[in-house]
Symmetry: C2
Subunit: 96 residues, 2 copies
DNA sequence: GTTTAGGATAACATATGTGTTATCATTTTT
DNA sequence: AAAAATGATAACACATATGTTATCCTAAAC
């Protein structure tokens, strides 16, 4: 529950105990941000992206407002039309 | 060993019609391959990885045998203890 | 040959994501 | 001001992932 907190709360919060938790939060926040950014950069509305991706607008809205953590196939359906994909990389770069 | 090499068959298969489909297949196959590879490189059994990740062994087995497409949080729970994470990258590099 | 360990799988319950349809609130456009 | 577009959300059905527990099969170890 309690999925509706602000991003900063997630990032700076101390209830991210394990590295797994922190990495999960970092990734999901970054993911959502990049997704929204990419969609808006293309000037697409959620409804238009829904058309392109095959994922329905309510599902996209739930993802963008972090009400759900998508499955990887759904995620890719959305990312690819936006010009992105996912990559498995070594856990090293702790940027910023 | 190398019983997972039939993944290549998936990659080269022609029943991937749309770019979205192909990218989805590519990613999922690469993901599973890298996951298995990383686990075995660490000399971990599925049961041991289950302990480390908090994801139960049957779930890991289902993922590795591609009986399910995981959610991103489950995926990260497994990848991080293996030393990996996910990254959103531009859809350009069509390697090999 | 018996034991041990590892991966796969079965069956069921539960959790959660997604589809569907519709609507609301807000902003943008005319 | 009115209309249109946009993101969010509600409610429900359905699909699927995951947990739980147990077992099977195979191969390796002894």
């Amino acid at each position: 529950m309690e999925k509706h907190r602000m991003f900063d709360d997630y990032i700076n919060d101390d209830n991210c105990v394990t590295p797994e938790e922190r990495e999960k939060i970092n990734f999901e926040v970054a993911l959502i941000g990049k997704m929204i950014e990419a969609r808006e950069a293309k000037g697409l509305s959620q409804r238009e992206l829904a058309e392109l991706s095959g994922v329905k607008q309510p599902a996209i809205a739930r993802m963008e407002s972090m009400k759900s953590t998508p499955q990887i196939d759904t995620l890719l359906k959305i990312l690819v039309p936006l010009g992105y994909t996912l990559e498995i990389v070594p856990l090293q770069k702790k940027p910023m």
